[in-house]
């Protein structure tokens, strides 16, 4: 066998492929539906994992409040863990609410446009309160939680060194969070993808209308 023979097989292959079924607008539409459906499944799975993860941390904060493993002496030292638990409950409620809405949406190639519009609406729901909760939540964990150990550290190290020992990790964590924010770690990327799908679909619809009008 030589390369000419290989090329002959390739040419026969080319002829075979030219006899295959042609693509049409319906196929493209169903492909967009399928891709959106896959992405949507992933989003729902992430929501479920997120809720489970938060439930775990909520249980942890309850244990801290009950068992006092950090030997807190003053009621004020519990403030960060209370904010932490409350923040988790609010975030979990919001995620659960979105998840329940998502569960009612099914993407099929017949309703993909409507389904995508509903998904985007869930993402675009006013979330000012949700955002404030996240800010307070982060503040309590980055600043208040390390400071809750301050009374014990002051006893053993004195005020100055104890403050320095607490402020250094706080500054580093705050800086890392700021950098992550600037680098786009907190951006919601899924909604942009769903918008792209919807745009593609609308273009397809325009094409479909154009074809109908021509016929």
């Amino acid at each position: 066998m030589n390369f000419d023979e290989l090329q002959a097989v390739w040419k026969a292959y080319d002829r075979k492929l030219q006899t295959t079924q042609e693509l049409n607008e319906r196929i493209l539409r169903s492909m967009i539906a399928e891709r959106s459906g896959n992405r949507f499944s992933k989003v729902r799975r992430n929501y479920i994992l997120g809720i489970a993860w938060m439930a775990l941390w909520l249980a942890f904060s309850a244990l801290v409040m009950i068992g006092n493993p950090f030997d807190y002496r003053y009621a004020i030292q519990y403030v960060p863990i209370v904010i932490f638990g409350t923040g988790l409950i609010i975030l979990m409620t919001e995620l659960l609410r979105s998840l329940l809405t998502f569960q009612k949406i099914a993407i099929t190639h017949y309703n993909v446009g409507e389904a995508l519009t509903r998904i985007i609406a869930v993402y675009e729901r006013p979330k000012r309160f949700f955002k404030y909760t996240i800010v307070v939540f982060l503040f309590s964990q980055v600043v208040l939680f390390p400071l809750s150990f301050l009374p014990r550290n002051i006893d053993t190290m004195g005020l100055g060194p104890a403050m320095a020992e607490r402020l250094i990790p706080i500054s580093i964590t705050a800086l890392l969070i700021f950098l992550a924010y600037k680098l786009g770690a907190f951006k919601e990327r899924h909604v942009d993808k769903f918008r792209e799908d919807l745009n593609e679909l609308q273009t397809l619809r325009a094409m479909s209308d154009e074809l109908i009008n021509e016929n």
Binding site: M1, A8, L17, I27, L28, R39, M207
Partner: protein
């Protein structure tokens, strides 16, 4: 413009099928790859300028998708099969009426790396070194060197399987 897209896809659908056959180890992978290539073409079609040949652009998009799809494979979410009701990928395997030669070609090509597969495909499509260089983004001299090595490799693979490449 939108109507042109389907005409273009249908005119050159062989390119997509060939890439799917070369890069998809099984039917399910080939279907996923086919879908991904068509969607990538659909997405980049508005930015296509007639500076290059339509087929050159299609080869570029299809091969880039196939090569990068491999890198992303582990990150792929589980796929649903909504489009299967709409579209069944036709039989895109090498023609069986070419007998043993088809088997040899298939087995030999499957043992090449992803880049080598792309180059040998373009070679078998009788593309010039310049076109291959345009599609693959490498220099013409590099195309020559790589093709020489690939042909030697193919020859070795075929010999290993007791076939003689004259």
């Amino acid at each position: 413009m939108e109507k042109d897209f389907l005409d273009m896809i249908n005119l050159h659908r062989g390119i997509i099928y060939k890439v799917c056959n070369l890069y998809g180890p099984n039917k399910s992978n080939r279907e996923d790859l086919f879908q991904e290539i068509v969607l990538q073409l659909w997405r980049s079609f508005p930015t296509f300028k007639n500076e290059s040949l339509l087929s050159t652009w299609m080869y570029r998009v299809a091969l880039n998708t196939a090569i990068s799809q491999f890198r992303k494979e582990s990150k792929q979410p589980e796929r649903q099969s909504l489009s299967k009701a709409e579209f069944q990928l036709p039989d895109i395997s090498f023609p069986t009426d070419e007998g043993e030669n088809s088997l040899v070609l298939n087995e030999a090509i499957q043992r090449l790396t992803r880049i080598e597969k792309a180059l040998i495909m373009l070679y078998l499509e009788e593309k010039s070194y310049r076109e291959i260089s345009d599609i693959m983004g490498i220099t013409e001299s590099n195309v020559g060197v790589k093709l020489y090595r690939i042909k030697s490799k193919l020859e070795k693979i075929i010999k290993e399987r007791n076939y003689e490449l004259r």
